[in-house]
C-alpha cells in the first residue's frame, strides 16, 4: 500500500513539474503520522500510510488553489474535496486524488497510540473514497446501518441535563479556533466570530460567548460537515464537537436526505427546497 502511494506520487510529480504531493510522513515521536508536502520526486520515500494517518489533508488544498496538487485521502477526507468543489473553492482538474481504502484509524495522539479505533471510525459508513483518480486498495462495501447511538444518548437525557452537559463542555472552550482552522469546510475570509461590526461574538471568552461561537461554528457546517472528526481531534480541551456536528448530520440526512461531500454536484440543502416538504413545525 505504501509502495503504491509512493509510486503514484513519484509518477505524478515527474509528470507535473512544480506540483506538490500532500501526504503523510512519520511524526517526530517516531510512531504517529503528520502531514508532509513533497515537491520533488526523490522525496517520496518519506511517504507513509498506516492507522495513525488521522489528519484530513483536504483542508490544505485551499492553500494551493489553482496549483497542481496531488493528495492522499481517506474516504472521509475525500468528501472534503467534493465539498470544496461543490462550493467552487477548487477545480477538480488541478487535483490528483490518491484515494486510499480506509482500514479505520487508531486513536492516535502525539506519543501514544491507543488500542482502539478513533471515535469517528466507529460510526464510519464509507470505506472507499468518494472521489479519486487512483484507488489504493480494494473497494470495500459500505456499512449499511447508521449508528447514531452517541447522538441518541444525548437526545435521551432531559432538556435540563442537555443544557448542563453542553454548558460544561462549552465553558472549557479556550477559543483557540483549532476546530475552525483544521476544518475543510471553514474557509471564510473572515470568520463571523472575528467580525468587528456587526459584533456577532467577538474576542471575549465566557459562557455565553462560547455558546454562540460553538453553535455558530456547528450550524455553519450543517449539511456540510463531512464527518472527518478533525475538530474534535485537535481540540486541546476535549470538547466533543463531533457530538454536536453529528446531530446536524443526522437531522440533515433525515430532513433533506442529504449526505455532504458524497459527490461534487448535488445542490446542498440550503441551496434548494421542496415545495411539498414539511419540516417539523411547532406542535
Amino acid at each position: 500500500m505504501i509502495e503504491t502511494i509512493r509510486n503514484k506520487a513519484k509518477e505524478w510529480l515527474e509528470k507535473n513539474d512544480g506540483g506538490c504531493v500532500i501526504g503523510y510522513e512519520r511524526a517526530s515521536d517516531g510512531m504517529t503520522a503528520r502531514p508532509v508536502f513533497i515537491y520533488k520526486p526523490y522525496m517520496v520515500g518519506s511517504l507513509i500510510f498506516d492507522e495513525t494517518c488521522v489528519h484530513n489533508l483536504s483542508k490544505y488544498l485551499l492553500n494551493r488553489r489553482g496549483l497542481k496538487t496531488a493528495i492522499v485521502v481517506k474516504p472521509c477526507d475525500s468528501r472534503g474535496i467534493n465539498l470544496l468543489i461543490n462550493e467552487h473553492q477548487l477545480d477538480r482538474e488541478s487535483i490528483y486524488v490518491i484515494g486510499v481504502v480506509c482500514p479505520g484509524m487508531k486513536d492516535a495522539h502525539f506519543g501514544r497510540i491507543e488500542d482502539r479505533p478513533l471515535s469517528k471510525c466507529r460510526v464510519c459508513l464509507h470505506h472507499t473514497p468518494a472521489v479519486y483518480d487512483v484507488l489504493v486498495g480494494e473497494p470495500q462495501p459500505e456499512t449499511a446501518s447508521r449508528d447514531y447511538s452517541d447522538v441518541a444518548r444525548i437526545e435521551g437525557i432531559s432538556i435540563h441535563e442537555r443544557n448542563a452537559f453542553w454548558k460544561e463542555q462549552f465553558e472549557r472552550c479556550i477559543r483557540c479556533y483549532g476546530c475552525r482552522q483544521v476544518c475543510a469546510g471553514c474557509y471564510c475570509q473572515e470568520c463571523f466570530v472575528d467580525e468587528l461590526d456587526p459584533l456577532w461574538v467577538g474576542i471575549r471568552s465566557g459562557p455565553e460567548d462560547n455558546w454562540i461561537w460553538n453553535i455558530g461554528r456547528a450550524f455553519h457546517l450543517s449539511a456540510r460537515c463531512i464527518g472527518c472528526g478533525e475538530c474534535e481531534r485537535v481540540c486541546p480541551v476535549g470538547i466533543p464537537l463531533m457530538l454536536a456536528n453529528r446531530k446536524l448530520e443526522k437531522e440533515s440526512a433525515d430532513l433533506f436526505d442529504f449526505e455532504p461531500g458524497m459527490d461534487a454536484g448535488t445542490a446542498p440543502p440550503f441551496a434548494t427546497f421542496l415545495k411539498e416538504e414539511t419540516l417539523e413545525k411547532v406542535e
Partner: protein, 329 residues
C-alpha cells in the same frame, strides 16, 4: 533533615486553605486536566500524579478574557472591575509552569506595570508539586529549569514514599507552611526524573542568521494557524482588546490572542506586515528563541512540552531547534 507532610495531612491542610483562600488545583474531568477552582469537599479527590495540564495556569493571572474597566452609558462613570477579595492559592503547579509565570512577569511586571496582572500576581501564592512523570516531549532542564526546581514557587512539594518534602522558598511560602502538620525526617530529596535534553547552544545566533530561510515556509506548509500552541503555552502572553456594549455600560475587554492567527498584525488601512503563513509561523519561534532572549536574556520557553503534544500537525519545537542549528546560512 527535611520537613515532610503525609498525604492525609496535606489534604486536611488544603481543605483549611480552601476555607480562607480561593484554591486552584488541577482537576480532571472528561479526560482533560485543567486548573480549576476547587472547594474543600473536592480536595480528597485531587489527583496529584497528573502530567501537565492541557492548558497552562497562566490564566490565573492573565485570564482568557477579562474586563479591564467599564464606562457607564452616560460616558462619564468609569467603573473599575471588581476583583476577588480573597487571596488565591494555586496548588499543584509544576515547576515548568511556575517558570512560565516568571517569564510573563518580566513583561507584565516591568514598568509600566500591567496593573491587572500585578494585582492578581500579588494576591496569589504558588504551591508547587515536583513533577515525577515528565512526558517524553518535556525538556525543562534544557531551558534552565528542572522537574523539581523550587525557583519561582512559594512552596515546593516533592513526593517521596514517606510523604511530601516541603520546601518553602519565599517569605510568603514560609508563612503559609503548616508547621503543625509536618514532621522532620531524615529523608533526602529524591533525584529528579530523567528528562531528554535539547541542545540549545547558539540557537539564538542561528535564528538571527536564518530569518530569510525557506525553511519557515516549508514548516508553515502544514501549519494550520490555529492558536493552540500559543493558548496552551505557559509563557505566550499576546492579547487583543475590544469594547463590548453591555447593559447600561460599555466594557473594555482583553482576551488572549495569538501571533498565529491571520489578521493578528493587520493594521489600519488593511496592511498586514506578516501576510504569509511562513511569516506568522516564523514570528512565534523568533519571539521565543531570539527576540525575548535579546530583551531579557532567556529563551521564552519552559520545556513543558504542551505545544508539542497539542499541535494537530506535529510542529515540534525540539525539531525546530535542532533543524535551525543545522541550517546552512
Amino acid at each position: 533533615m527535611n520537613r515532610i507532610i503525609v498525604d492525609n495531612n496535606l489534604r486536611s491542610w488544603l481543605k483549611e486553605l480552601a476555607e480562607k483562600y480561593t484554591l486552584v488545583a488541577p482537576v480532571t474531568s472528561d479526560g482533560v486536566t485543567l486548573f480549576k477552582h476547587v472547594k474543600g469537599s473536592q480536595v480528597d479527590s485531587l489527583d496529584l500524579q497528573y502530567s501537565n495540564t492541557a492548558v497552562s495556569p497562566k490564566g490565573c493571572f492573565f485570564p482568557l478574557s477579562e474586563t479591564m474597566f467599564s464606562i457607564g452609558s452616560d460616558g462619564v462613570n468609569v467603573i473599575a472591575p471588581v476583583s476577588t477579595d480573597r487571596e488565591v492559592v494555586i496548588f499543584g503547579i509544576h515547576p515548568c509552569d511556575a517558570a512560565g509565570i516568571a517569564l510573563i512577569d518580566r513583561v507584565f511586571l516591568a514598568e509600566p506595570t500591567d496593573t491587572h496582572y500585578k494585582e492578581k500576581r500579588d494576591r496569589t501564592i504558588l504551591i508547587g508539586l515536583a513533577c515525577n512523570a515528565p512526558s517524553p516531549e518535556c525538556f525543562c532542564p534544557s531551558v534552565g529549569g528542572g522537574p523539581a526546581n523550587p525557583m519561582y514557587l512559594d512552596i515546593l512539594l516533592t513526593q517521596t514514599s514517606a510523604g511530601y518534602i516541603v520546601q518553602a522558598t519565599t517569605g510568603k511560602g514560609k508563612e503559609l507552611t503548616p508547621a503543625a502538620r509536618m514532621e522532620e525526617k531524615d529523608i533526602p530529596l529524591p533525584p529528579p526524573p530523567h528528562v531528554t535534553p535539547v541542545p540549545l547552544e547558539g540557537v539564538s545566533e542561528m535564528m538571527r542568521r536564518n530569518f530569510d530561510s525557506p525553511y519557515w515556509d516549508r514548516v508553515a506548509d502544514r501549519c494550520l494557524h490555529c492558536n493552540i500552541c500559543s493558548y496552551v503555552c505557559p509563557c505566550c502572553y499576546c492579547f487583543d482588546i475590544r469594547d463590548y456594549m453591555g447593559k447600561d455600560k460599555i466594557d473594555r475587554v482583553r482576551s488572549w490572542e495569538s501571533c498565529q492567527s491571520a489578521g493578528f498584525t493587520m493594521i489600519a488601512g488593511g496592511h498586514d506586515p506578516r501576510p504569509t503563513k511562513g511569516a506568522r509561523l516564523r514570528q512565534r519561534w523568533y519571539h521565543k528563541l531570539l527576540y525575548f532572549p535579546e530583551l531579557f536574556g532567556d529563551i521564552k520557553c519552559t520545556g513543558c512540552g504542551r505545544c508539542v503534544r497539542s499541535c494537530p500537525v506535529n510542529i515540534d519545537i525540539r525539531e525546530i531547534i535542532t533543524d535551525v542549528q543545522k541550517l546552512n546560512v
